[in-house]
Amino acid sequence: MRNILKIKNFISIYPLIILVMVGVSPIFYYNDWAIHLMILSLMYAVMGLGWILLALAGNVSLGNAIYFGLGAYFTIFSIMKWNLSSYEAIGIIIPISSLAAIFIGYLTFRFGISGIYFALTTIAFAEILRELFIFFREYTGGSLGTYILFKDSSLIEYFAFDSKLPYLYFIIGFTFLVYIILIIPSRTKKFLMTLRAIGEDELAAAALGINLSRYKLAAFIIGSILTSLMGWLYIHYMRYITPDVGFGLSLSLYIALLGVASNLRLEHVVLVAMILTPLGELLRAVTGALLAGLDILIYGLLIMLIIIIRVLMRRRR
């Protein structure tokens, strides 16, 4: 009996089923707010996927927002200052985010910076860019942020729609595609297994001929591209960005939280994102209106509870 996928699959396919369900749901229940939540959740999910790749290899980044911010801002520059189309903008942000990842990655992987020092370095880089983007306010609008205005609504030029649905189906399709690429090809399986091995034991991995820096860099670059593409999507959807939203620590932390809550398993990210994101948004909407700051208070409390429960459950095992 021929079994093609002999090497046990690293990812199961249930996220695809969830995606299909999400895609079909507007037919049964159309709600603007719900669709907004689903778009946001899936955007975070993709960023979570990108984050997990490097985390598997043992490097926890707390500055992935840097790629989101770069993607969003350079999309604005491309479209509003350099007169490019939405699609040409993609051609700009991918090299830029990759270069950023290469720069940070080279600095840290070559020098063997890992663990908490790596996390701090990524935080530092994101903060540097946040401050710089505030500083150069003539170009970026400073801390108040900047809008994007599409000169006309031709779809050939711009990925701009009045309705939310196109964005929803775009992100569903994109996430679907990413998962397909992660599940099926043998090369990805080798890539993911190797990343996990590196995360488990770098010395043992090196003894088997695994080039640690190269794999880590690859994971970092792929993560950066995925994240910056979400920045691209975000600016096309929300039409507004500030340095805090784009490069902020809370975004980086949230992406990491999704990864941690998924147990570093790629297949769980969609579900986790679809639970936590609406919760967070709901919290902000309900309590934020009630009492400013209550949402952050409860969110912080929840994070502490989630992790402590995880730790205590592990101790029992």
Partner: protein, 242 residues
């Protein structure tokens, strides 16, 4: 029959603070031999492996593979050149299954690309070391002896030119030792050169074609097993341990 030298060191020295872990060590390793390296604790056996495989840079001396100078290359490069080492305390990828551990080794050596072939080869290796029945367990759930076998399996699966085993027999008794000897001999028949570093002498004498003895970082003597174990200098070096 003239034997080719596949790996050799020239006056390799390594100091840790004031301690001479390796002192002017020049050894040659011949193709397809089973070379034993032995010596009392602290004689530099593991340091030698670490230096040859790139985990530690020597302070003096060079290491060559055939004619190529491989001194100072990072561990992964040396592994890619065909020199694979195992670790004294096994380092399995704990959360991964036994068979996945072997699969990774196969994936990163030359040759097989096809998933089917890789899987079949992994099963073959596991069968050879006797871990076939444990193949789907997580590596962390293996017993200590099984972990040692997995360590060996990973090394063998890489089909290296030279396999450097760091105390693979440690802790093994009786039948286990016989098993390991058998497996290692079979590997040599497939063309792999074996360098076995051991602390316990008895197993090495039956396994190795030739033995080099280290003491305090220096090469004490070398020769056939019978010669070496009857050498009074060697006995003295080991007695110093007691």
């Amino acid at each position: 029959m003239k034997k080719e030298v596949i790996l050799y060191t020239r006056e390799v020295s390594k100091y840790f603070g004031g301690v001479r872990a390796l002192d002017n060590v020049s050894i040659s390793i011949y193709e397809k031999e089973i070379l034993g390296i032995m010596g009392p604790n602290g004689s530099g056996k593991t340091t030698l492996i670490n230096v040859i495989t790139g985990y530690i840079k020597p302070d003096k001396g060079r290491i060559y593979m055939r004619d190529e100078d491989i001194t100072g290359l990072p561990p992964y490069s040396i592994a890619k050149l065909g020199i694979v080492r195992t670790f004294q305390i096994p380092r399995p990828f704990k959360e991964m299954s036994v068979i996945d551990n072997v699969i990774i080794s196969i994936m990163h050596s030359k040759g097989l690309k096809n998933e089917n072939e890789i899987y079949k080869e992994a099963l073959r290796v596991l069968e050879e070391v006797g871990l076939y029945d444990r193949r789907n367990l997580k590596a962390k759930d293996l017993s200590d002896i099984e972990k040692k076998r997995l360590e060996l399996a990973k090394g063998l699966a890489a089909e290296p030119k030279v396999l450097m085993l760091d105390e693979v027999m440690a802790g093994a008794r009786g039948e286990e030792v016989e098993n390991l000897i058998r497996i290692i001999r079979k590997a040599r028949e497939r063309g792999i050169t074996i360098v076995a570093v051991e602390h316990i002498v008895s197993a090495l004498t039956r396994l190795a074609d030739r033995i080099i003895v280290l003491d305090q970082g220096r090469v004490l003597t070398e020769g056939r097993p019978e010669e070496v174990i009857n050498n009074p200098l060697v006995k003295k070096a080991y007695l110093g341990e007691i």
